[in-house]
């Protein structure tokens, strides 16, 4: 299918912004068979997440979880990273765009730079370090952070004095002061916008004195303060006197939910959670009993398992005070006084050592300009306009959006949207998949298994990083004396392109069949040297690395002799191990080009449809008689989108698509296999007939249900109903039937029915907006109607806040109650009366009502059988558990199985659609590979020694070993992760891990001390 101009679509994509969203979109698309140009205006990728200390709700270290992604993006053959680059213009149409780009000079050639850091060491200039939020200084020649990708330095010419020192010391000749800006253009089929947001600048609020009081910091500054790689090395200190604070306050909604001092009426959606996290982590860092207080309006912990995080923080002693602070006054030399009215209306005053401003998100000016240049519509808050049913599409066809430009959101939501945007792109460009991608053409491998070891040792100087400390010639000459060594040399930079080529020649000429490189670390450089071997037709496992930089010259700078001795030990160890290395074969297995989608609601249908649009076939299994799911109970969304016509058209599209097989009244009866090759039996229809399907992936979209309340006279009085019931009543009224809500004088809604209590501690996320949506609708029907919403926290997160504001403007009354003083609903004959405690009047109030509407919880569907069949985990409340709450929100930890919709946690229709597209993208990027490489460094069982004792079965963290029909353990190489736990545990020594066999490790132990003892 070509577009209107008749041209074939381009198989390349431009991704603008390389934060966590842009990186995820790039990885999905590059693995799906598209060439990705990833543009960022910064010298490095990683975005704002790289600046965070920990992440909620798992308290994982942000850098620890993002850095593997950085490396993956940096290494991917089909991701072309364009740092220091901005988009100037976009011409053309979906499928065939021409992008004009401008790269700003970096003054350091990334191709030549080895990131050795000599240039930084000699730079005499100090400048404000933006990465650490100006809390410390950096040089003019710098790397934004140590793990930065691309791995290379940059010169900040705004502060550089041009002294020429860095140019002089750079032995790689990478410094070019005469570097200039470059303008160029690219042809792409689609564009994904992920430029992110800026954080709100609190200096606009003069009552907070942010600029004048050093101990008033923003939340991002506080993240850097807590970070182990931050300005204070992770020691909790306040900026003024570097003393550890004993009392810290957080002020919420700074630059959010505010139309007085700024224009940001929306909620920034993340600040409640990060404030709680910062308070909890700060308490962990503190030496004494740190007092933490969070001043807030509504505590919006609406995400998956966020409410429990909030509850735990309360248990940890974090104080939560419902009050908006007007001003921060200086107290004494550097303390801070907060004056506030508590909930009882009493004036209080407290002194803190430090105040953190929980600043919100804001679309930056540059992003607004970018939006204009790209000709996409932005809404009144300057976020990209999207349709609720097409949440990742901008107003310009072929231009997708993800992350915080789409609206304020947290990391998992950004990651889902990124994959969702990739799914949209992949469906649009599927005809051009693999047309522009690069692939490695490798020569056939030489079999060296019969040859005695012939080892070549290459010792790296790394400029002067190693050579300046370790006596490299001495190490080189020492290596010459070791067994099996036939060649030694030292290089200025072993990793440079020209050295690689020369090494390849030497290896061929001298018949070398094992390579040892003594240089930096295998974590960054092993893949590169393995490629060198592959390029000349040697097996990549015939390589070993001695880490004489990161773990030697850099950490023993004051003792050159001992550092040299250690380098010799490490080289001896590597040579001994290299002599025992064996070439390992990897097999390719085919991936079945189809997916099984379980659940035929909005999420399942979107996932199946997108898979089919990507060119894969899909089998959609629905338990009920009809497709549509829970969405059949929703008339319209809060932003007025009609749901039923949408569901009807979606069903029609799914049924009409030749790539989708729809099975209703069907259930999975058995499931086996592994990623790429699953076999599932499905009982179809009311008969007992079973159909068998072979498929490569599974997407779970089994949905959720509304809680049927046992409280508040539900089911006993006709006037008591749930929000979903009310939806039905309103729809029937449209059809002229039944109870007419327009005649009601008063409706009272009760929030959190079946949520946030002992039985179910989760927040159901969607009920606050359901209540406001229906309240506004009732007001429209009968403007004279009294509507009271009894709530605990109004969680109108993100842009939903505007509807909350509108509801209050229309006179809808919001009254807050506590869990220990619940409202009472009593029957009053035909009518009802509700008694509740009003937080403003501080007394109980009784009101008659025509209807009481309960915002009932969203509960997980019953998936006991399916979870057992698929062997995928669920939490205590029946929702499925994703592989990682932050960065793998739609993957299960078992590969090839994905998750979306309300089966994951309660969410809005637009969020379900996003997540279903994300699941389809993840599934599609796996299927697109067509084959899977298995084997290599994996565990294998010697059948003759296995006693089927089950130790391996029980010890494997991935559940891979199985006792097979021959009654011995079998380890599927496609599933084995190569950790080797089973190998150490096996009492019969029946299992070995290739590449890490017992003798290959013990030889290292022995070799280490040979020289020293």
């Amino acid at each position: 299918m070509a577009n209107s101009s008749g041209k074939k679509k381009k198989g390349a994509v431009l991704v603008v912004g390389a934060g966590v969203a842009g990186m995820q979109a790039s990885l999905d698309l590059a693995s799906s068979g598209y060439l990705v140009h990833l543009v960022d205006k910064s010298p490095t990728i990683g975005g704002i997440m790289s600046q965070l200390d920990k992440t909620f709700p798992t308290n994982d270290c942000a850098m620890c979880i993002i850095s593997p992604k950085l490396v993956e993006v940096g290494r991917h053959l089909n991701i072309n990273i364009l740092p220091n680059t901005e988009v100037e213009g976009l011409e053309g149409e979906a499928g065939n765009f021409q992008v004009a780009l401008k790269s700003h000079p970096r003054y350091i050639d990334l191709k030549a730079c080895t990131a050795c850091g000599q240039c930084r060491q000699v730079c005499p200039v100090t400048a404000v370090n933006e990465f650490n939020q100006a809390l410390d200084l950096r040089e003019a020649t710098y790397m934004r952070y140590p793990q930065a990708i691309p791995r290379g330095f940059t010169i900040d010419r705004n502060v550089c004095i041009g002294c020429g020192l860095c140019e002089k010391v750079c032995l790689a000749e990478a410094v070019h002061y005469d570097d200039t800006a470059k303008e160029f253009s690219l042809d792409v089929g689609a564009v994904i916008l992920a430029p992110g947001n800026e954080i709100f600048d609190p200096s606009k609020f003069d009552t907070y004195n942010y600029l004048n009081l050093p101990n008033v910091v923003t939340s991002l500054e506080f993240e850097r303060i807590l970070s182990a790689s931050g300005p204070y090395r992770g020691h909790l200190m306040r900026p003024y006197d570097r003393e550890e604070p004993a009392k810290i306050a957080w002020l919420q909604c700074v630059g959010s939910r505010n139309i007085n001092a700024c224009d940001n009426s929306y909620c920034s959606a993340v600040c409640c959670m990060y404030a709680i996290k910062e308070a909890v982590i700060a308490k962990e860092h503190a030496h004494g009993n740190l007092d933490t207080a969070i001043f807030y309006m509504d505590m919006r912990t609406y995400g998956k398992e966020f409410e429990q995080y909030y509850n735990r923080a309360k248990e940890h002693g974090v104080r939560f005070i419902r009050s908006r602070i007007h001003s921060i006054e200086p107290e004494g030399e550097c303390d801070l006084r907060l004056t506030y009215a508590d909930e009882q209306g009493q004036q209080k005053s407290e002194v803190f050592d430090m105040v953190v401003l929980s600043v919100g998100f804001e679309v930056g000016k540059e992003t607004v300009e970018l939006g204009k240049r790209l000709n996409i519509d932005l809404n009144r808050h300057k976020f990209a306009v999207t349709d609720g049913f097409k949440p990742v599409e901008t107003s310009r066809p072929g231009v997708y959006v993800c992350g915080t430009l789409q609206g304020p959101k947290d990391i998992p939501q950004s990651v889902m949207e990124a994959s969702g945007a990739a799914a949209g792109t992949s469906a649009l460009l599927s005809e051009s998949r693999w047309t522009e991608t690069r692939s490695l053409q490798l020569p056939p491998q030489r079999d060296v298994s019969k040859e005695p070891p012939r080892i070549g040792v290459f010792v790296c100087n790394c400029g002067i990083n190693i050579g300046g400390i370790v006596d490299v010639p001495a190490v080189r000459e020492y290596a010459r004396t070791l067994p099996y060594v036939v060649h030694v040399e030292d290089n200025l930079f072993t990793c440079s392109q020209d050295t690689q080529v020369r090494m390849g020649q030497v290896i061929k000429e001298k018949g070398i069949n094992r390579m040892v490189v003594a240089a930096c670390t295998p974590l960054t450089h092993e893949p590169l040297f393995r490629e060198t071997l592959l390029d000349i037709g040697l097996n990549k496992y015939l390589f070993e690395m001695a880490n004489i930089r990161n773990q030697d010259s850099w950490v023993h700078m004051k003792d050159r002799q001992k550092a040299t001795d250690k380098a010799k030990d490490l080289v001896r160890m590597s040579v001994a191990r290299a002599a025992l290395l064996q070439q390992l074969e990897e097999q390719k297995i085919q991936i079945q080009q189809s997916g099984l989608v379980i659940g035929g609601g909005i999420a399942g249908m979107n996932a199946a449809l997108n898979l089919a649009q990507q060119g894969f076939s899909a089998i959609l299994v629905e338990k009920g008689t009809e497709l549509g799911g829970l969405a059949r109970c929703v008339t319209h969304t809060i932003d007025g989108m009609e749901v039923q016509p949408y569901v009807d058209s979606l069903i029609a599209e799914v049924k009409a698509h030749p790539g989708i097989k729809v099975l209703t009244e069907s259930e999975v009866t058995s499931f086996k296999g592994y990623k790429g090759n699953f076999t599932t039996k499905v009982r179809v229809g009311s008969s007992l007939e079973e159909e068998t399907f072979e498929h490569g992936v599974v997407i779970v979209a089994t949905g959720a249900k509304e809680y049927r309340p046992k409280e508040f006279l539900y089911g006993e009085h006709d006037g008591v109903m749930t929000q979903m019931d009310l939806d039905e009543v309103l729809r029937q009224r449209g059809a002229g039937n039944g109870n007419d809500p327009a005649k009601w004088n008063r409706a009272i809604m009760i929030q959190c029915v079946g949520s946030r209590n002992e039985e179910n501690p989760n927040c159901s996320r969607i009920c606050c907006q359901s209540a406001v949506k229906h309240a506004l609708e009732l007001k429209k029907l009968n403007p004279a109607m009294d509507i009271v919403i009894l709530y605990r926290d109004m969680r109108m997160y993100g842009l939903l806040e505007d509807y909350y504001t509108e509801a209050r403007r229309q006179g809808i009354i919001f009254s807050r109650f506590d869990l220990d003083d619940l409202p009472k609903v009593e029957s009053n004959g035909a009518g009802l009366k509700v008694t509740f405690h009003d937080h403003v009047l501080q007394r109980h109030i009784q009101m008659p009502a025509d209807a009481v509407v309960l915002s009932a919880a969203t509960l997980a569907a019953n998936t006991d059988q399916l979870a057992t069949q698929l062997k995928v985990p669920r939490n205590a409340y029946g929702f499925f558990i994703e592989a990682h709450a932050k960065l793998r929100p739609v993957d299960f930890s078992s590969e090839g199985i994905y998750l979306c919709g309300t089966a994951h946690s309660p969410k809005l229709i637009s969020e379900s659609i996003t997540q279903s597209l994300a699941a389809a993208s993840r599934a599609g990027s796996f299927l697109a590979g067509k084959t899977l490489s298995v084997g290599g460094a994996v565990a294998h069982v010697d059948k003759s020694h296995c006693a089927a004792c089950l130790v391996c079965v029980m010890s494997c963290p991935y559940g891979v070993p199985k006792i097979n029909d021959e009654n011995v353990s079998e380890i599927n190489p496609a599933l084995c992760q190569g950790c080797g736990v089973c190998v150490s545990e096996c009492p019969a020594k029946a299992i070995q891990l290739s590449h890490f066999e017992d003798d290959q490790i013990t030889v290292e132990v022995h070799a280490l001390l040979e020289g020293a003892v």
């Binding site: 004051k558 010890s955 950790c979 891990l993 132990v1005 001390l1009």
Partner: protein, 67 residues
Amino acid sequence: MNEVFEPKMLAFLCNWCAYAGADLAGVSRFQYPPTIRVIRTMCSGRVDPLYVIEGLKDGFDQVSVFG
């Protein structure tokens, strides 16, 4: 016994966490005594108790596993 005792130490490091941490110590130029020797494994669970015995038998004064 005028010489200061310098223990010979052997450490097994998990590739994904402890080894990466040791690399980062280098990036941060943290200085520590040059008496420790590191063997990388794909998981600290790969360290067979026998390796610990072998290390001690060979003459290491201490063997540790980080993961």
